[in-house]
């Protein structure tokens, strides 16, 4: 009996699936990185290039405090090599059950595949003394919206490059070279942004939520008040009147709000003060054209400088 055709069929049956399902049999597997926010995804993409597959759980136009921990996120986390979070309890309302239920031991906090980006950043507004709920949704470890400072983006990118190198040492030089290139481009872009914002250094603004302290510090703006009476608490009539009076006393015209907040109260404040509401994008992807970290600042500084000019 000629066994050769049977042997050939057997070998083909074993080998064909391996070939079909391993298209890059000679290339190394890309690191699968999941980030909580689009900004971290953008920085990871800058550093990781084509050696990483990166995806963010939250959308850029979504309030990052309130993201539904959908089961579809579990599948993404289950297969992730690395999870990068903002930390400082920004994601405390939704990320912990996702991490626990993912069944992925690599991305549990303190595991090799978990990276809290806040460790690299300069953190502002760290509360002193006891913190209670009477103060609203205060972040007890400091303000987590730190990615809105290009200096912090440089620090975070360095940290991500180090982590990617630790996980994939073969491509370490590639990650380091990309990080250095990103830093060079960011320094150049920051010079441009600083030039655009220079005429408005020292100008006073009001913001809806405490999302902009790092941005304000970097560009020399003075945040004198907030539309929310306390973080996470919607504006009350009495607080709104106090804020209007403050804005009039300080000749403050601009209110910065994020796209996920209601504009009704900010619009009434603008009418009462002769000011202007500026809807700023806090994250990459906040608008379709904001596809990376550079475009985020191009957009925000563009509309902010225009608003300053209109309210001279």
């Amino acid at each position: 009996m000629n066994l050769r055709p049977k042997l050939f069929s057997f070998v083909l049956t074993i080998c064909l699936p391996a070939v079909l399902f391993s298209p890059a049999t000679t290339a190394a597997k890309n690191l699968k990185v999941i980030t909580t926010l689009t900004d971290l995804a953008s920085l990871t993409q800058e550093v990781g290039g084509d050696k990483v597959e990166v995806e963010a759980l939250a959308k850029g136009y979504q309030d990052p405090h309130f993201v539904d921990p959908k089961p579809s996120f579990l599948l993404k986390l289950r297969h992730a090599d690395l999870l990068i979070s903002v930390g400082l309890e920004l994601e405390i309302g939704w990320l912990p059950p996702l991490i626990t239920q993912s069944g992925n031991g690599n991305i549990q906090p303190a595991a090799p595949g978990y990276l809290d980006a806040s460790q690299f950043a300069e953190i502002l507004e760290i509360p002193q003394g006891a913190v209670t709920r009477a103060e609203g949704d205060v972040h007890p470890l400091g303000n987590p919206h730190y990615w809105l400072d290009p200096d912090n983006a440089r620090r975070i990118a360095k940290g991500i490059a180090a982590k990617l190198t630790e996980m994939d040492s073969t491509d370490g030089p590639y990650f380091q070279q990309r990080e250095q290139d990103f830093e060079k481009r960011l320094v150049e872009a920051d010079k441009k942004w600083q030039t655009q914002m220079a005429p408005y250094r020292g100008r006073k603004i009001v913001t809806y939520h405490r999302s902009w302290p790092n941005f304000a510090k970097h560009f020399g703006l003075d945040v004198i008040g907030y539309i929310e009476p306390r973080p996470g608490i919607p504006p009350t009539p009495s607080h709104t009147i106090e804020l209007v009076n403050l804005m009039k006393r300080e000749n403050t015209k601009l209110e910065l709000i994020e796209p996920y907040f209601d504009v009704k109260t900010p619009d009434s404040i603008a009418r009462m003060t002769g000011g202007k509401v500026v809807v700023m994008m806090p994250s990459v992807g906040g608008k379709p054209e904001i596809t990376d970290y550079f475009k985020l600042f191009d957009y925000d500084i563009g509309i902010l400088t225009q608003a300053f000019q209109q309210t001279q």
């Binding site: 309030d63 921990p69 309302g93 059950p97 608490i233 919607p234 996920y260 209601d262």
Partner: protein
């Protein structure tokens, strides 16, 4: 024995659908010779526009349950069955459907319809409906007002009004989906 199988799908970025089937089997209160089987199908639809998620959302839920319950025969039941129970094999069916719509940051309005045969006497059927208004003064407290109408199989109607206050003390972990 209890089993539940759940399937989930994102329909869009703003909406998703959760479907489930359940099965349960076990002895009932009449003893080890008497078995109850429960079969259930459930569906939950969530809508929450991502850019307005703190101001608007909608959730619709429905569950259908079929119950097959072995009960003592006509000869024995009068001596051991609870009041209102019928003899023999009972096939009961029930369902509810509810919807809850968030129309402002702290306000929700909802409604619910119930229809169910009684477990121990499937010839008897109760129906009802509710309207609910909920206010969240903060994420730690909830005030709810409910009007509930029930038409019982015993040929009487009930009109009920409820006022409920719930509050949480202390921190707790994030809720799963």
């Amino acid at each position: 024995m209890v089993g539940h199988l759940r399937g989930y799908k994102d329909l869009t970025d703003n909406s998703n659908l959760d479907l489930g089937v359940s099965y349960s089997r076990g002895h009932n209160l009449f003893g080890s010779d008497f078995i109850t089987n429960l079969y259930g199908v459930d569906a939950t639809y969530h809508w929450k526009p991502l850019q307005r998620s703190i101001y608007k959302s909608f959730i619709a839920r429905s569950e259908f349950i079929w119950r097959q319950q072995n009960q003592p025969s006509l000869l024995i039941c009068p001596t051991i069955c609870p009041v209102g129970a019928a003899p023999g094999f009972q096939r009961a069916f029930g369902f509810y459907t509810s919807g809850d719509f968030q129309f402002a940051r702290r306000w929700f309005v909802g409604g619910r319809v119930d229809d169910s045969d009684r477990a121990f006497n499937s010839h008897l059927n109760d129906k009802g409906g509710s309207l609910v208004l909920t206010y969240w003064p903060s994420e730690f407290a909830q005030v709810r007002g409910q009007y509930r109408f029930t038409r019982y199989a015993d040929k009487f109607d009930a009109h009920e009004v409820f006022l409920q206050l719930q509050f949480a003390l202390g921190a707790h972990g994030a809720h799963p989906f």
